[in-house]
Amino acid sequence: MARRSPLHSEHVALGATLVDFAGWEMPVRYSGDIAEHVAVRTSAGLFDLSHMGEIAVRGDDAVALLEYALVGRMGAMGLGKAKYTMICAPDGGVIDDLVAYRRDWDHFVIVANASNKDTVLGELEARAAGFAVEIEDESDQVALIAVQGPASEGIVTAMIARDADNIDTLPYYAATNVVLEGDIHAFVARTGYTGEDGFELFVAAADASEVWRLALAKGGDAITPCGLSARDTLRLEAGMPLYGQELTRSTTPFDAGLGRVIAFGTEANPRGDFVGRSALETARDAAPARVLVGLVGDGRRSPRAGYAVTDVNGGVVGEVTSGAPSPTLGHPIGMAYVDAELSAAGTQVLIDVRGRGEPMAVAALPLYRRAQ
């Protein structure tokens, strides 16, 4: 039996098509994938992300634990800041990619992928031996609702009853406590997974329906409920990795071109040991054999996860990790791991699309960048 979001009845009332996703019954679409995708690029979309895991880490050693357990320099985060980071295995493989929020000097919230939440929780608990911390899985108590797109700032501002003066100046990857209309407390972050400006609202599960309806009421014609299908094409255009596709236990952050999330420290500002350090130093110093690239084609048939990438002579040089017809760009796009020597933008490759080689060109990520 799949788990249900606290917003399940809202999805049913809106006529959503529900699918199983990481053990959750979640909306894949409401009206149509393309209309939902376009709404986020041109106005605003509303997403239920309540399947995501929220793990709180509190205590005097919260910084010390997270600096040991994660690859980022968590102690350098300011209050109310968000940080994209990863938890790696001792061999350097990615266990999950995470967004960490610093809610207080000794209080962080780690947002994990739904499929990995139990693993991340278990790893944090195992790594916490000897640290003075309390680790709490808050996933069932927290609903996560995203408002994404160029109209999102106006909509979120309209939802807020108090502290609204912060929102228009809230920087990207920062967060603040607000009170929404209806006296609902929310932690609002300027973060997202769409390549647009946008916000993610952490609210109590009991308040989720009221917040969802408030967003729809304030957004009016400017906001469109969006499902997982649009979320996937939006993040793909924006070059954002999806765990299980671009990131796995057998890829390091360097393979995915995300070595920057690892803080090894400098002579002037050294950093202590963290899980995976030694293997990641080796990975840093050795050029990866295959690297993550973008793909663009001018045909009609799209690359899809698992399809082989070949050179023009048919020799296998890589594998597609994600792909779709891009609603914004109007042609097939994808991401793939390819041999390093074929990773330069403009390199011509063939994608084995169900037995026929479709020509595509390697392209730098992201494939879509919003106008500033």
Partner: protein, 127 residues
């Protein structure tokens, strides 16, 4: 669960067939509303060419949406007599009107059709 017109026959691969189900008969073929809903917005259709031979239960084309790609199976054996050219510019017809303007191809049957389902049986399959 989508609409399932009672006057059509269905394959387990979610195609519908309309017309005379006998050798020499010509039938129109498309995919069901259930299949179109599962795929999401269809952006590309690859149908067999006019004159091609198709075999019941075998792949004869593909349907691509933003979310996924799906193979198109022929529900009957025969020769393709027409394809819906409108789908090249308006593949979304399959989502909007799967049993009407979203038809995909027509076949002149050369082998007695077998194993096609009545609407009630197809509904049972997708329930």
């Amino acid at each position: 669960m989508g609409n399932v017109p009672g006057d059509l026959r269905y394959s387990a691969e979610h195609e519908w067939v309309d017309g005379e189900l006998a050798v020499g008969g010509e039938v129109t073929i498309g995919i069901t509303e259930h299949a179109a809903d599962a795929l999401g917005d269809i952006v590309y259709v690859e149908a067999p060419g006019v004159g091609a031979t198709v075999t019941a239960g075998e792949v004869c084309g593909e349907l691509e949406s933003t979310k996924a790609v799906s193979e198109l199976y022929s529900p009957v054996t025969g020769t393709v007599t027409a394809i819906n050219d409108e789908l090249a510019s308006e593949p979304e017809s399959i989502n909007k009107d799967p049993f009407g303007t979203g038809w995909i191809f027509k076949v002149a049957i050369t082998e007695e059709p077998a194993g096609l389902l009545e609407a009630s049986a197809y509904e049972g399959l997708t329930a």
